[in-house]
Amino acid sequence: MKQKSILDFTKFKCIVIGVSAGGMESLTRLFAHIPKDFPLPILVVQHMHKLQNDYFITHHNCTCILPVKEAEEKEKIRSGTIYFAPPDYHLLVEEDETLALSVDEKVNYSRPSIDVLFESAADVYKEKLIGIILTGANNDGAEGIRIIKQKGGFTIAQNPKDAEFPVMPQSAIDLVEMDRILSLKEMTTEFIRWDQEDEI
């Protein structure tokens, strides 16, 4: 059964994604379907080991049509670009829509932490932010999703049944009334159809 695409991406300014265990494969699948003219920037916090990052970036650059890069401090956020938090640094968004990094204490045993990105992005983009929480084995991101919602943003969780590790999306769902709970496949359909109106 097809779901009607009610997400009009042009009403938003940014997407933030949080993902942990099982992230590599989910992101690969999600990004593989994003069209070249996708109108928003995507900021990603993925929990990972300190040494893996270069490989991640290279990998996603190969499988995704949009440019994928490691976030740099003071960098201007550009639409149609995917930014990853560097390993061992928190990623934040500044008021002037530039990126910031910090080595503050770990949050939820994590650096980068999804909550840190989500909260700072929610402060800046408010109702123009989409927050997506994917597979993972901890509860980082749930509080961040709560704040995105509180500031009027749009929240999406991966359907825990669909997630390789259900704990993370489930924690968000338990804490916040999500706008959408979708399988990865349904999410990719949203991305593909972003510019197609009157879709059934």
């Binding site: 740099e72 008021e95 080595v103 700072s120």
Partner: protein, 275 residues
């Protein structure tokens, strides 16, 4: 417009701290500062930033807590091992050519990096001709640094970092264990002067051969970064070296043209010789 009120409250909070106590956080990167202010509010049971501002103005002990909460002293020994390897292989050979060397370690936090550097200098045989100034504006952190006593449970990680950084001996040669503590050998801090120095308000350190300032500039906005980088530029001899954190850069800064990169990945730059 609730969000604007919050912004005004933050501006007033930072201005109050500056006017009352002389600590200037107004040019720090806002997103991080905001996070810490909210954290402080929660921790101390405030509902409004302005309530906290009022208490800070009238009670120095409240301010004390803020300063230490605002200064993020997260650090480790041989953080980014490849940086230390690069220092050893690419910079130390130059330093060896000087009869004496002066090093400024700015934003040294609790000192782990300073001891790492001291170990490196010892192993390369130039410790005895080195004078190291290790500074921070956080007096608590400096106290820890002066003592050189760290948690024993971290030594395993540090030992791994040390090996990866090209360590020539065993990390355990440099401390002795007592209960749950690792006490750094006093010979490592013999030539180190730990001192309070605020990068925003205090002046230059003259004639340095090497300045290390890692993971401090990311907390500053562009203007403050340029100001502090100028301070470093003025404190270095021609041909001196500047080492930044792995995500920090001189690109697009006001001193970019006075330096050339020695190791782009490990963020080591050299002040160009003039004349």
């Amino acid at each position: 417009m609730k969000a604007d009120i919050e912004k005004i409250e933050i501006d007033l909070f930072l201005e109050a701290i500056f006017k009352c106590y002389g600590y200037d956080f107004q040019l720090y990167a806002r997103a991080s500062i905001k996070r810490r202010i909210k954290h402080l509010m929660k921790k101390n049971g405030y509902n409004r930033i302005s309530d906290m501002t009022s208490d800070i103005l009238h009670d120095p002990s409240v301010f004390e807590k803020v300063v230490y909460d605002f200064s993020i002293t997260v650090t480790e020994m041989f953080r980014d091992p490849s940086f230390y390897q690069s220092l050893r292989n690419k910079i130390i050979p130059y330093l060896k050519t000087y009869p004496f060397i002066k090093i400024w370690h700015a934003g040294c936090a609790t000192g782990e990096e300073v001891y790492s550097l001291a170990i490196l200098l010892k192993e390369e045989g130039i410790y005895n001709k080195a004078t190291i100034f290790a500074t921070d504006f956080n007096e608590h952190a400096l106290d820890v640094a002066r003592q050189g006593i760290y948690s024993l449970k971290d030594t395993q990680k540090y030992s791994t970092n040390y090996q990866k950084a090209g360590g020539k001996a065993s990390f355990s040669d440099y401390y002795y264990a007592r209960y749950n503590s690792a006490i750094m050998r006093k010979s490592l801090s013999k030539n180190v002067t730990f001192a309070n120095h605020n990068l925003v308000t205090d002046g230059v350190f003259g004639e340095m051969h090497l300045i290390l300032c890692r993971n401090v500039l990311i907390y500053f906005n562009k203007d403050l970064q340029n100001k502090v980088l100028t301070l470093f530029n003025e404190s270095l001899i021609h041909g001196g070296f500047l080492a930044l954190g792995s995500k920090e850069t001189l690109s697009f800064s006001s001193i970019e043209n006075d330096f050339k990169p020695i190791d782009k990945k490990n963020k080591i730059f050299r002040k160009i010789k003039k004349g």
